[in-house]
Assembly symmetry: C2
Homo-oligomer: 301 residues x 2
């Protein structure tokens, strides 16, 4: 089954204690698509400017990523500049140039409207809702968001949430959205807003998934060398949704496995700058690491 994603395609300038990347390929939809493409074909809905480097488009073309929904419009591409210090959990944004993102009006191409899985990357909830308006059939829709929209566009966000099956956010965002510090109570409040499924990302502590009265705790793999955490959350979501699209299931049992595949993809993503680790990743490595996650948490009953 195929998967549609809406989000940002960006030029990232990132500095970490381990190096610097200047105008590398980045953006939420980029990291998502790259990770998901190991499992499923993707329809990418995003916007770029006239200055977007052809070599980055070649990367998308080298993967099963459909670019009909990638609009190229007059102006400069979206740019993000950030820095990570020794605490690699915290991104310090130095500059955001929205550029063409200000004119973004997502259009899902006809070939991608019937995809059974849809991911609404972190973007204005009004635009997320516009995508929901365009998709056909009854796809499984997951969404991401951030504090900027939770604080500044709450009514739009709540409208959007009524229409999605799953929300994927980090711990602080979950607390802010619910107005509740206890995660168990927050998870109920959020699921009452619409999404039956809630996945909470906890960075180096893994992830929690809530569905009905069930909870799943996914570990993170302790990693020796993290070069660039940018895109960890998006590649997590990409691996998860890509796997669900591949097996065409949304059972909680399969969502658990999908979360582990998402964790696997995030663990690779952070090992190198930009998408460099994913460029030379293969299925055997993905499956090996899936087994390492399994060993990490296994104990005899």
């Amino acid at each position: 089954m195929a998967l549609t994603v809406i989000g940002t395609v960006a030029l990232d300038t990132v500095e970490t204690p381990f190096g610097k990347l200047t105008e590398g390929l980045g953006g939420s939809a980029t990291h998502f698509s790259a990770a998901a493409s190991f499992f499923s074909p993707i329809g990418l809905v995003a916007v770029i400017g006239e200055d977007f480097p052809e070599k980055y488009l070649d990367f998308f073309r080298s993967r099963p990523i459909n670019l009909e929904g990638l609009a190229k419009i007059p102006g400069r591409s979206f740019r993000w500049t950030g820095r990570y210090d020794h605490d690699m959990n915290v991104a310090h944004t130095l500059e955001t140039q929205l550029n063409v993102l200000l004119q973004f009006n997502p259009e899902v191409p006809a070939s991608q409207k019937k995809n059974k899985f849809v991911f609404l990357g972190n973007i204005d909830p009004k635009l997320q809702s516009k995508v929901i308006d365009q998709v056909e059939g009854k796809p499984f829709i997951a969404a991401d968001t951030m504090n900027f929209w939770i604080d500044g566009s709450r009514p739009d966000l709540l409208e959007m949430l009524k229409r999605v099956d799953m929300l994927v956010i980090n711990e602080g965002e979950a607390r802010a959205l619910a107005g509740e510090s206890n995660l168990l109570k927050a998870s109920r409040t959020i699921r009452n807003m619409g999404p039956k499924h809630l996945v909470i990302k906890r960075g180096e502590y893994g992830a929690l998934a809530f569905y009905e009265d069930q909870i799943f705790n996914a570990p993170a793999l302790p990693l020796e060398d993290i070069q660039d955490p940018t895109g960890a959350g998006d590649s997590f979501a990409g691996g998860m949704m890509g796997y669900l699209a591949k097996i065409n299931s949304t059972s909680f049992q399969d969502i658990k496995k999908a979360i582990i595949y998402g964790s696997v993809m995030a663990s690779f993503m952070v090992e190198k700058f930009s998408l460099d680790r994913l460029r030379r990743l293969n299925d055997a490595e993905i499956n090996d690491r899936f087994l390492r996650f399994s060993e990490l948490t296994h104990f005899e009953r």
Copy 2:
């Protein structure tokens, strides 16, 4: 098999958003013994003053806890006063009255010298070493410590660490002891100091165990009502060591299960103030919660 513990027995005054306890039964060896006593007999080595309430001694007597090593000496008992705000992960110490702890000279009674398992609770590493001097045979020795000793008594701490099999500390302490922020690297540095096993407590994120080239990630159970986090770490260690003593094993496979039993005991401990939840806890509840931990992390390979 029986288990010896050295640590503090205290009168705790604790305030949390959910209530206040005045001069309740507390201390690292108290929480440890209470949790461990559900699995194994314990020999408690600690000190109290003349003012120590008889009813608290009756609690110890109601459990399989041998009190020959609990010295009662002239003076007032050790007292700790603390407060937790909404972030229940952070204890704010308001007052510490060492009192009789200043004269503490631990003596392991003859009946407890041959116990096969020993836990050195968080206390001056010189005293921890004195206990190692007194035990006989080749027991499995685990130790706790804290930043106060890591920063202020490093040479004594390093002497003690050479002689123990396992160190049980929290994440920040592990980073401080190793002088290294990456936990994987820190775990190797610490294990080169002596202990073959390292268990890192991560509060609401669970625990990590390191042994040779293996890692185990234990989850924490998301809890709805945490009334008083005091003693969570000590009851974790107590459940873990109590289970190991019960089954008389130190294989990594069994240490993983023991860590889950430790997590189970910590999850009960925090539900009420002081030891109140443990006073009415039974084995069926412990086993039920063990299964909940298992469900929390299980996924199909």
